[in-house]
């Protein structure tokens, strides 16, 4: 399931809902991305996330479908926030559930790596030197490449 929303989310409640009623699930892996208070050497007082409504949901659904192709997953949840956030605020939750841990852990890692390079979100930081757009990082592209070509399920 994919959700793109302004509001915060309750991690515990989301994970409970993900596994509710499915006793096949033996493991849940999750990643939670938070707003950092530093960007490079500058203090960040707030972060604004912009996105491309429509394409965002579409790309996230594609990434979710790809994860289902690659691993035996019983449930996938991606929640990504947009709008103005403060340091410590939650940005993203990726959670995967599977009968066994390997698939859940690998798929969760894959999803966050792919999401960072595919989903059309952009971050603007508020710093003492003014507002500035965050630049994409070569490390993120490299992290995504790790998952190409498709792994054998």
């Amino acid at each position: 399931m994919i959700r793109v929303q302004r509001e915060d989310f309750d991690v515990g409640a989301e994970l409970e809902r993900l596994v509710a009623g499915n006793p096949r699930i033996g493991g849940v892996a999750s990643f939670i991305g938070l707003v950092r208070d530093m960007g490079g050497s500058d203090r960040v007082s707030a972060l604004t996330l912009e996105h491309y409504p429509g394409m965002t949901e579409r790309k996230l659904a594609e990434i979710e479908a790809e994860a289902h192709c690659r691993w035996p997953l019983d449930a996938v949840l991606v929640i990504h926030r947009y709008g103005r956030l403060k340091p410590g605020d939650r940005i993203v939750l990726v959670a995967t559930a599977s009968p066994h841990r390997e698939a859940a852990l690998a798929a969760c890692h894959f999803l966050i790596d792919w999401l960072k390079t595919e989903a059309p979100f952009w971050k603007s930081e508020e710093t003492p030197a003014g507002d500035r757009w965050v630049e994409s990082r070569a490390e993120d592209d490299a992290a995504r490449e790790r998952w190409t070509p498709a792994l054998e399920v």
Binding site: E50, Y52, M55, L115, T117, P120, W122
Partner: protein, 83 residues
């Protein structure tokens, strides 16, 4: 054709969205970006470095050689930074 701009590209071009009639000589993404650079100084500056520009047509990423057609939704934006 509808053009959408995001993040710093929106700021540099000076608008989030514009409607343009596709010129007959423009057939692909590279041609469209080239034509857009001639629209104003702001467009020229925003689209100066194509290494920093990504394009999606009808909400799918495309390369410079991808065809463009009247009625397409073309989004132009910098590399994404979500997650």
């Amino acid at each position: 054709m509808k053009l959408l701009y995001f993040a710093w590209l929106r700021g540099r071009v000076g608008c989030a969205e514009e409607e343009v009639a596709l010129p007959p000589q423009v057939h692909d993404v590279a041609g469209l970006l080239d034509w857009l650079r001639g629209r104003s100084d702001r467009h020229a500056e925003a689209l100066r470095n194509l290494g920093l520009v990504r394009v999606a047509i009808n909400q799918d990423y495309v390369g410079l050689g991808h065809p463009v057609r009247e009625g397409d939704e073309v989004a132009i934006f910098p590399p994404v930074t979500g997650g």
